[in-house]
């Protein structure tokens, strides 16, 4: 199996795991449905580290899973995450991710960009979906994302290294 396929399968598995965790596990800990967007964090990590192809396919496939489990119109998350995955893929090899600061900045920009894209897609496509992003709910999501991103990036780095070493052996 080629490295690309292996990385894609591993990342897809992680994304599906994060979606299920977000859907089943997080409601037990976070009140009022305030949840971080784990999937977005994972997409960002893989897009920046492994490029446009893995980023966009991962964004697309995770979007389908999200759309099938959510009340949002089918295709909304798919399109938004595809664009995010693709655009972030341009940064492969161009930025050096430190442990805290840059991941926090990237997730802030990406979360705001995600809100903006959802708003834009809702306006362009004839879908029955309105959402007001200027609420505390989305500030909380942004805050949670910022807190969790360095931790998840750190864990993913460890996993990627182990996978890499195992492949080398």
């Amino acid at each position: 199996m080629s490295n690309k396929v292996l990385y894609f399968l591993a990342s897809l598995g992680l994304v599906i795991f994060s979606i299920i965790t977000q859907s089943v596990l997080f409601p037990l800990f976070f009140k009022n449905d305030y949840m971080p967007d784990l999937t977005l964090i994972v997409i960002i990590y893989f897009s920046i580290n492994y490029g446009k192809n893995i980023g966009q396919v991962l964004g697309f496939s995770s979007g389908i899973v999200l759309d099938s489990l959510s009340g949002a119109p089918f295709g909304l998350n798919t399109l938004v995450r595809l664009i995010i995955g693709f655009l972030l893929g341009f940064f492969k090899g161009k930025i050096f991710l430190d442990k805290i600061l840059l991941p926090c900045i990237i997730i802030t920009i990406c979360t705001i960009f995600k809100f903006f894209l959802i708003q834009l897609v809702s306006m362009i496509f004839p879908i029955d979906f309105e959402i007001n992003f200027f609420t505390i709910r989305f500030l909380i999501e942004l805050g949670m994302n910022i807190v969790l991103t360095p931790i998840i990036f750190f864990l993913l780095n460890i996993m990627a290294k182990k996978l890499y070493v195992r492949r080398d052996n």
């Binding site: 599906i16 979606i19 299920i20 965790t21 977000q22 859907s23 089943v24 596990l25 997080f26 409601p27 037990l28 009140k31 009022n32 449905d33 949840m35 967007d37 999937t39 490029g51 446009k52 192809n53 966009q56 396919v57 697309f60 979007g63 389908i64 899973v65 999200l66 759309d67 099938s68 489990l69 959510s70 009340g71 949002a72 119109p73 089918f74 295709g75 909304l76 998350n77 798919t78 399109l79 595809l82 664009i83 693709f86 893929g89 959802i118 897609v121 496509f125 004839p126 879908i127 029955d128 979906f129 309105e130 959402i131 007001n132 609420t135 505390i136 709910r137 999501e141």
Partner: protein
């Protein structure tokens, strides 16, 4: 040259995926079957995680329960001679009896056939407050069926089914801004329209209640479904009035409602099955 080839390939993949996503968004209805299939598939994973969590928490609870039982056993053994245990058992049976009575009353009090479901997950996308229940089309659940639940002795509206998989369904709660319910004030019988607005505090808005009703309604008044041209049958509670605003330039009152159902502690719901009494 090889660099250019790779560059082109990623662009072509993006264009293809972009087109597929756009078609999915443009023809939502055509992809209904795909969504239902995906929902059924991923619910298996979701259910698996849910069961694992349930098993883990039950196991942890069992350990602490065993400890508690041991303590209770010692205590009861000591007090056995004084016949105190009898009293305790009597109270326990009495409590259970009252719980069972409550449950029986709830089932009897539903005027329609219903399917009891358990909530197994919430919307993972953060874009809506939809919930996932563990019954689907195989159990007779269809889109647009109303969902109710019992809390604190009142049967309240939870929302409606918006998507069904084979063994799971997605319920759109009445808090969602896409939710509208024809309603009526329980005491004064004035009609209105309850709509969700994704309120941070989980409140609903009651519109189109005439200003003349101001003297007859008060904070705490109950609001119920009116059954008028609605998929929700008549007589199910929606919420209690918590704020009434009279705006001079508007012809109707602006009323804020707190739902009867506390969604944060909702575990089980009932999907109402139409029996000809109300229309889907």
């Amino acid at each position: 040259m090889p660099i250019k080839k790779r560059f082109d390939k990623s662009y072509s993949i993006f264009i293809v995926l972009f087109l597929i996503s756009s078609i999915m968004l443009l023809s939502n209805e055509s992809f209904k079957a795909t969504k239902e299939g995906a929902l059924s598939f991923f619910t298996i994973l979701q259910r698996g995680v849910d069961l694992t969590i349930e098993f883990t928490s039950n196991t942890i609870n069992s350990v602490s329960e065993l400890k508690n039982l041991k303590k209770r056993y010692d205590l009861v053994s000591k007090e056995l001679e004084d016949y105190r245990s009898l009293d305790r058992e009597f109270l326990e049976v009495k409590r259970e009896n009252s719980e069972f009575k409550k449950l029986l009353n709830f089932k009897d009090s539903l005027n329609h056939d219903s399917i009891q479901c358990e909530i197994i997950g919430k919307d993972p996308s953060n874009l809506s407050s939809a919930i996932v229940i563990n019954k689907g089309s195989k159990h007779g659940i269809k889109n647009n069926q109303p969902v109710v639940a019992e809390q604190d002795g009142l049967i309240g509206v939870v929302g409606k089914v918006i998507n069904t998989g084979a063994y799971s369904s997605i319920v759109l709660p009445l808090l969602d801004q896409r939710s509208y319910i024809a309603s009526r004030l329980s005491e004064s019988r004035y009609e209105g329209l309850v709509k969700g607005f994704d309120s941070l505090d989980g409140y609903l808005q009651l519109d189109y209640v005439k200003k003349i009703a101001l003297n007859e309604i008060s904070i705490g008044s109950l609001v119920e479904t009116s059954g008028m041209n609605s998929l929700y049958p008549k007589g199910y509670f929606i919420g209690r009035i918590i704020q009434i605003d009279r705006v001079d330039y508007e012809t109707s009152l602006k009323i804020l409602i707190e739902p009867i159902i506390d969604f944060s502690r909702l575990e089980f719901v009932s999907v109402l099955v139409p029996t000809g009494v109300f229309n889907e």
